[in-house]
Symmetry: C2
Subunit: 403 residues, 2 copies
Amino acid sequence: MTNIEKNLEVRDTITAVPGFRASAVDAGLRKLPAPDLALIVADQPCTAAGVFTTNYVKAAPVLIDQARLEAKPNHMRAVLINAACANACTGDEGLRNAEQSAAWVAEAIGCAPDEVLVMSTGVIGVQLPMHKLQKGIPAAAAALSESGWHDASTAIMTTDTRPKRFSVNVNGIHIAGIAKGAGMIAPNMATMLSMIATDAVISVEFLRRALREAVEQSFNRIVIDGDMSTNDTVLLFASGASGKTVGKDVDYHAEFLPGLTAVCKALSQAIVHDGEGVTRFITLNVTGARSTAEARQIANTIAISPLVKTAFYGGDANWGRIMMAAGRAGVKLDQNKLSLWYDDLQLVANGTPLNYDDAQANARAAQPEVTVRLDLGLGDQEATIWTCDLSHEYVSINGHYRT
Amino acid sequence: MTNIEKNLEVRDTITAVPGFRASAVDAGLRKLPAPDLALIVADQPCTAAGVFTTNYVKAAPVLIDQARLEAKPNHMRAVLINAACANACTGDEGLRNAEQSAAWVAEAIGCAPDEVLVMSTGVIGVQLPMHKLQKGIPAAAAALSESGWHDASTAIMTTDTRPKRFSVNVNGIHIAGIAKGAGMIAPNMATMLSMIATDAVISVEFLRRALREAVEQSFNRIVIDGDMSTNDTVLLFASGASGKTVGKDVDYHAEFLPGLTAVCKALSQAIVHDGEGVTRFITLNVTGARSTAEARQIANTIAISPLVKTAFYGGDANWGRIMMAAGRAGVKLDQNKLSLWYDDLQLVANGTPLNYDDAQANARAAQPEVTVRLDLGLGDQEATIWTCDLSHEYVSINGHYRT
């Protein structure tokens, strides 16, 4: 974390973001009654950017949003988010349904259909229940208010146990975001949906660059199970309502980017904390690498290893599995240069176990939060990622997700 | 399976392999009394070959065996296998201990120390208890017999619930192998130990090639959890006791290679069936690929997906997760060309779900054995791998493996 980020106060709440209104309704998409449809609307056309899944199987909303952000990046007015149905692997009908949903939003708020973006989360391979959306969308539009962000953050939850919403103020501008996460979280990018809003005045070029850089330091640094969804999307809308311009009134490097990054980090770390069945939050720090890319490659491989993750679940300092995972990451290593720490306790030096106290090591592995550092002894580059354990509860949740 | 393989009778037993004796003893390596040290000895120097883990973190026995097979491939006399300690991440002391163990075997049976190979399985990062091996090795040598293979196959088990031993006779030669598996199984190569013996007369060149080709069709086609161990080793010894020469009396392509492949397939599939906590055996068949490599890449990515594996555990035909995993495999796909079957039931055609009966799909997903076929619609290449589900029991076993 940079000093600039440290000085930012990230709040676990969103009061309002000038220029935006939000809402949520129960459109009857879920099996049990609960809000399931969120709408965020800007009073005026926004500058907007997005980062999307790199999965070759992309949900209909991803395909539509990518095209619209490319075509009209300065004219975005709204985002519709539904839970309970991913609208992925749904063919042409899925694309038509996504377009129709956006058109109903446009009709309700008064804008062009291609100024509305859509995000979906839920089961893959099922069509959207359009008759429910046809009723739900006008209801959501009628419910819009400046203070609707918390309702929206709750409506987009799937297996999340807590809503995720964070905000920061920096030099008179607001940056605020909501996200849903839980499963299918892997770098490039973290599998989840997030909608971030700011009232800064900012060019498309600056906005795209800021989002890419912030995501790289946050959502792309978290791993839950290594799977990557068909729907991953982070959207960033700028209303300009503050009247303060990034690059003139607000410094890009010292103010806007750190503020955006802080919100993205808070959202992404909250996703790991609230991952499916998670009992431990693990910070993996790979140091002494030849390059950041190699350090990340190793950290990611450790993070997705079921053997590493289950050992943490058991509170077992079975560090050999970390060495094993590091060795299979496809990065050339010298096993005689590897050193390993659990928090402050060094377990391995130059590939050989030290004479540490096993009870002390297990005590560290069994904490709710633990930092594991693996030094490769090859260079001076490093990378950090955040991950979690693999528990019985994860298996329970995902063994019967649809039932 | 080729017609030649179909005509081979692979037996789930090993009576004897001319030229070899085997044994096992309880050397006190495990927490509870049970055989834990296996020895296989050839009466005369053997031609030998090995295939080893590609993990950059290699256990001491792997490093030693690789060097010895390179130096004296026509002079191998014995293999010592211990359970309960992997002798990995053990530095110079681990190497010295592996060498000393081999030297004790050499002393007991009367050969040069570098004619003995060693394999270890168990916890990483712990040194071998040498005082126990010093007593156990002569006891194992004293217990050697032609019918000792079953004892040996039992002694090398870790979390295996059943010993794995298979044999085949082809044109008057014997090929027989034992293996241990269970966790940490991923392609390139399957994480496990296996010792295979034949009484054929065969050159080092033929032997190495046969082992490489057989492993490629068997051990490298199985996935349990995607992790790859520091100790993976398959050894193949040829005693020549049959007097029949491969390439002269025995055809390489029509007899020796199919026989060896059949034994390797039986061993590797038994490893998946007996994987940690496994409740379902899944055959993944990716067809319509541009290349075999791409088909395998996709099959492997599906096989390691925790979301796919937990859905199978739950008997849930949540096929969208298979599409998701295929899409994140790093192979360029056209999602509108993907088609999917569970056994005979087609669920998806050209990227769009068919109007199938969900109960029928779930019934197939809930079988003890199921075949999933994903057609990419891109070409005429294909690949098959064997994998399993991810259960509560897997998490239990691996959350508390050391305790």
